[in-house]
Amino acid sequence: MFVLHCPHCGEKREEEEFGYGGEAFIARPLAPETIDDVTWGEYLFMRKNPKGWHWEMWSHNTGCRKFFVVKRNTATHAIDGSWTLADARKLYDAESKAS
């Protein structure tokens, strides 16, 4: 049972205050009409679902109602940190470039 740090409220809170928002950074195609059904289907349904580090969204339901990003290990439940969407984006891009 997790304790998550809400970057907006600036506090660690119990899991029950939050709602899970799924895989982070699934970008919506900018021009959906121009892509084929397969590409659209990938965006709609296909997920990384990694065993290991996972960039995921949570929303602080009982608090600030903001979505934010957590990097969590799905095998060990270790948490690397949580950030606002904007800050996380930078780290994520840097990480993606590195690998």
């Binding site: 119990e14 709602g19 709609l44 339901n61 439940h77």
Partner: protein, 1016 residues
């Protein structure tokens, strides 16, 4: 004094407070401080149970949570508790308990007949039998089921209450034995917020069984007094007795259950108190001081009543002043039993101590002989003798190295037999969230290393970490506590504490689990490993023979450790015997997974306050009391309770709905629409935002106007709908379905925050702020006119789909001229604080017109007559706007590709013959179709019958004097009679519960297709 009770000033019973109780109807006496087990043993009461599979006589084996046999049914009626361990039942006056096994009686158990054929019922018995003929198993199964099970569940609702309490502590110490107390003292003196829990009725742990032990010059009992005294004096330390930490979850969330009632006589339980409380403790650090449990040795007939663990014999003697037997035979592989042996001898028992080691600890031998114990080195037990109680045991001389019989030994007769195969650390919590215990070959135990999980904030001290000697345990506790305190940048104030004891240094134990009897496994008397599941050593060997070689397979094939004791006594023996059978080392075999609960915990405790009328929220509108006063029947819709219908004079649903419908169509009726979700949306980009989240267009809608909108998921399917009003150019008020409100707000926020943060728009829920009364019917304008004089209500000035600021019944209101019924209608929205006032004012104003309150059922009929959908009833997540024949509510021209649009183009979604929403008319106008009836093409119904859709909504329309229905039908739109389809295609059958009704497929709009009535 009962036969086995002795004088013992150190014992924790209060002989000045005698108590009486009954077991299986027979009356006994005991004392405050007794457990049911100690009190029964004090009377020499041995046999309490019959075994699960073979019906063998069984008695008390342990003295606490590890007890496998003595499961009793405590009390009767609503307060009854099944399967409590007699060793954990604190005695109170008038307590009544019964056995849970043994049918028809303990003395004669039907299963014991099977027992005689036990060799034909090995592990896996059922898998190999009752397979043929197929009809056999269904007849055998009920018999098997009735033979299984221990206690009986209550049959009455639970009269007692439970709750939860949430804690956030710096340090949680689990276990208040010597080590736990010391660790708590260390953390407490350092000023940390400490919680110390122990499942027993008082702190002390093993020290309560070893009162003569010496710690730093004090006797154990004095040391306990001073230590507990100081802890109690510290405001930052909280001690919870009778509190079992039963689970450890991620990030050190510990669940612990506190027993507040069960030890008190029902008549004396304080009213308003809880029976049990779940403490949810989020701890910065956890100290596991959960100790160790002595495991018995495995030999023939080792399950006879009167055979206990040596530790239990010691505990009964020292803690409860009970000498379980007068002639005691002890069997050990280690030093731990010697103190107990001395104490038993000093208490006047004749004690023979057989040590499986050929060379034993001279210091202990000296003390034992001095105390009068007859010590025999290098002996084991081949098999115990006795029927309903142990009478003696046949000893054999053991080979000093190999696990083999080296020669014959004497027959020792005894009335109590205790064995010790060493201590098994209580590592359960260490493992609940993924930790693994480590096999320590020197200590012959799976231990939880003291700082093995320090990174996770979990520390282990004392016996739990494998420190079995008291002095070592305490010294190690001091060290480990200091390490823990360092992580808080605190120095330890117990580092220099004197913890010297008077025990001799420990001599290594002998590595022995299953004692040899000179015969191959399975040939001699059954030697039990897991008493509760009747798992014998031979069953483990059989499992291995049949290739159930993984320890998990062995567990599952034999049921080893499956019981309510979760293998506290049996698991390690089982692992070791398996290793032997597999020819592997114990660490290679490993352990099974430790899972919560450490000790069983009631469902009531888990549920806490979430029971009865606080099980889950019920949401009410500001007008709720108005409806209650009018005897409304209510319907749960999402979290809300909404009026379903308003029966008067004994009406049933149909009569009431008929009356309510006609009132709405012919004169005036009123409904509470407050539960609809309302979201205030404001910002420069609000129109663009709506364009993206709705299927239709919002660019043109002028202030003062409203529009209906369909909300789709990205898959193109309708998931919510509602009317949205333009308040100002940059300001809209959106309404959602009752059930969808929260989901929609989160959905909108998610899109805004994650995809389109650049859009200038804010959303705020105002659902609870507004109370809404829908005044519906031809006379609604007249009613409203009486209460609303500051705006022009005339059709010309206040058009359909307009809204206005106005004053209604003296209250500022937003009046929407929208209609979910197709009638002239006004939705009056006011500050909910005035909801009650305005509802009553409208009722009063409408009285002259016979204004009629109506509920959700009538609302459904009225909208169905108009072919308006209910999202969630006429849609099921697989309907596009086109499937709903609502192309008019989709704007494909909008520049931005709104949510869901792209999905329309996929091959399956683009098909023209998808299931589509249509109306149905039955041949017989009186027949009301079943909602959920399936649409088929022929009246011939020999399965499999092709299905083309189903009836989503079906009612009797009082207005039309006939039944109507909505359905989704494959290619339905092209089957509608109106559209002159190929003869016959409009005729189908609606099939439900074996009946097929002929129906004609028509437009979904049954009344006033031009919408004239709502425009008057």
């Amino acid at each position: 004094m009962s036969s086995h009770r002795i004088q013992n000033p150190f014992a924790r019973i209060d002989t000045s407070r005698p108590l009486s109780f009954t077991f299986d109807g027979q009356s006994f006496g005991g004392f405050a401080g007794d457990t049911l087990a100690s009190a029964l043993l004090a009377h020499g009461h041995r046999m309490l149970a019959r075994s699960f599979k073979y019906g063998r006589p069984r008695g008390i084996v342990g003295a606490g949570a590890e007890e496998p046999n003595a499961l009793v049914q405590l009390e009767a009626g609503p307060l009854t508790i099944p399967n409590v361990k007699a060793t954990q039942v604190e005695l109170y006056d008038g307590l009544s308990a019964c056995r849970t096994t043994g049918w028809p009686s303990l003395a004669y158990d039907a299963k014991s007949i099977g027992g005689h054929f036990s060799r034909f019922m090995p592990a896996g018995f059922y898998y190999k039998t009752f397979k043929w003929p197929a009809a056999l198993w269904p007849r055998v199964e009920p018999i098997i089921r009735h033979a299984a099970g221990y206690g009986s569940a209550p049959v009455d609702p639970d009269p007692e209450q439970y709750d939860h309490q949430h804690h956030h502590a710096d340090v949680l110490v689990v276990g208040a034995g010597a080590s736990g107390l010391l660790a708590a003292l260390g953390a407490g003196r350092a000023g940390l917020h400490v919680i110390l829990v122990d499942e027993q009725n008082e702190p002390g742990g093993w020290l309560l069984s070893a009162p003569h032990a010496v710690i730093g010059g004090q006797t154990a009992s004095d040391w306990l007094k001073t230590t507990i005294g100081e802890l109690k004096s510290l405001p930052n330390v909280r001690i919870l007795a009778r509190t079992c930490a039963f689970a450890l979850h991620d990030m050190n969330m510990i669940q612990a259950v506190e027993q507040l009632h069960d030890h008190v006589a029902p008549s004396a339980r304080p009213a308003g108190e809880r029976r049990q409380r779940l403490h949810r403790i989020r701890a910065g650090r956890v100290v596991l001081a959960s100790g160790a449990i002595e495991r018995p040795l495995v030999y023939g007939n080792n399950d006879l009543p009167g055979i206990l663990t040596a530790a239990a014999l010691t505990t009964y003697l020292n803690r409860y002043a009970v000498a379980v037997g007068k002639r005691v035979l002890l069997l050990t592989s280690n030093d731990h039993v010697y103190q107990g042996a001395c104490d038993l001898a000093k208490a006047g028992c004749s004690v023979v101590l057989a040590d499986t080691r050929s060379t034993i600890n001279p210091a202990w031998e000296k003390r034992a002989r001095a105390a009068g114990v007859d010590v025999m080195a290098g002996y084991g037990i081949a098999e115990a003798h006795g029927g309903r109680a142990v009478k003696g045991a046949h000893l054999v001389r053991l080979h000093p190295e190999r696990i083999a019989v080296a020669g014959n030994g004497p027959f020792i007769d005894c009335d109590a037999l205790g064995s010790s195969g060493g201590l098994s650390p209580t590592v359960h919590l260490y493992c609940h969230d993924g930790g693994r215990p480590v096999w320590d070959e020197k200590r012959l135990a799976f231990v939880a290393p003291a700082t093995g999980r320090a990174k996770a904030g979990i520390y282990v001290v004392g016996a739990a970490s494998g420190e079995f000697g008291l002095q070592n345990a305490l010294a190690q506790t001091c060290l480990t506590t200091a390490e823990l305190l360092a992580t808080f940048d605190k120095a330890s104030a117990i580092a220099t504490l004197n913890v010297r004891t008077d025990e001799p240094d420990l001599q290594p134990a002998r590595r022995i689990f299953r004692l040899p009897d000179g015969k191959p496994e399975g040939h001699g008397k059954k030697a039990f490993v897991d008493y509760q599941n009747d798992v014998a050593a031979s069953d483990i060997h059989l499992a291995v023979r049949e290739n159930y070689r993984s320890i998990e397979h062995i567990k599952r094939y034999t049921a080893l450790g499956f019981g309510t004791d979760q293998g506290k006594l049996s698991n390690v023996n089982g692992f070791a015997i398996a290793a032997d059978a597999l020819g592997k080392s114990i660490p290679e075999v490993g352990t099974t997974t430790y899972r919560p609960a450490y000790s069983p915990v009631t469902f009531g405790t888990l549920a806490g306050a979430h029971a009865a009328d606080t099980f889950e929220p019920r949401r009410y509108t500001a007008m709720h009391s108005c409806h209650v006063a009018r005897q409304a029947e209510f319907e749960p819709v999402g979290q809300w309770l909404r009026p379903w219908y308003f029966p008067t004079g004994g009406e049933d649903l149909h009569a009431a709905v008929r009356r309510e419908c006609l009132a709405a169509r012919r004169s005036v009726a009123m409904m509470d629409a407050s539960t609809l979700g309302k979201i205030d949306i404001r910002g420069r980009d609000v129109r663009e935002f709506l364009n993206r989240v709705y299927a239709n267009a919002w660019t043109q809608l002028a202030p003062g106007k409203c529009r209906y909108g369909l909300m789709l998921d990205e898959n193109g399917m309708v998931f919510d709908d509602g009317v949205t009003a333009c308040i100002a150019d940059d300001h809209f008020l959106m309404t959602t379905t009752t059930g969808g409100a929260a989901r929609v707000l989160t959905w909108l926020e998610k899109w805004h925050q994650t995809e389109w943060p650049e859009l200038d728009v804010y959303m705020t829920s105002v659902t609870d702020h507004w109370a809404t009364a829908a005044v519906v019917g031809p006379k609604s304008r007249q009613v409203l006119a009486k209460l609303c004089t500051d705006i022009d209500l005339s059709p010309a000035a206040f058009k359909f789909m307009d809204w206005r600021e106005a004053t209604v019944a003296g209250v500022a209101a937003r009046v929407f001229r929208i209609s979910f019924s197709g009638e002239l209608a006004f939705e009056v929205n006011v500050d909910a604080s005035y909801g009650h006032h305005v509802w009553e004012a409208l009722m009063a104003a409408g009285r002259e017109f016979g204004i009629t309150p109506y509920g959700t059922e009538t609302m459904h009929v009225l909208r169905a007559e108009k072919g308006f959908i209910i999202a969630g009833q006429d849609t099921d997540g697989s309907m596009t706007p086109f499937d709903l024949d609502m192309a008019w509510a989709v704007s494909m021209k909008k520049p931005f590709s709104f949510i869901g649009k792209r999905s329309f183009a996929r091959s399956d979604t683009a098909k023209s013959d998808r299931k589509q929403l249509v109306g149905l008319l039955t041949d017989d106008p009186q027949v009301i179709l079943t909602e959920g009836a399936q649409m088929i093409e022929t009246s011939n119904t020999a399965p499999p019958v092709p299905m083309f859709g189903h009836v989503t909504s079906s009612y009797f329309s009082p207005e039309l004097g006939r039944s109507i229905a909505l359905a989704v039908v494959r290619d339905g739109i092209h089957r509608r009679s109106e559209d002159g389809v190929k003869a016959g295609r409009d005729i189908m059958y609606a099939w439900a519960g074996g009946k097929a009704h002929k129906v004609r497929i028509v437009s979904a709009v049954f009344i006033d297709p031009q919408g004239a009535r709502q425009n008057v």
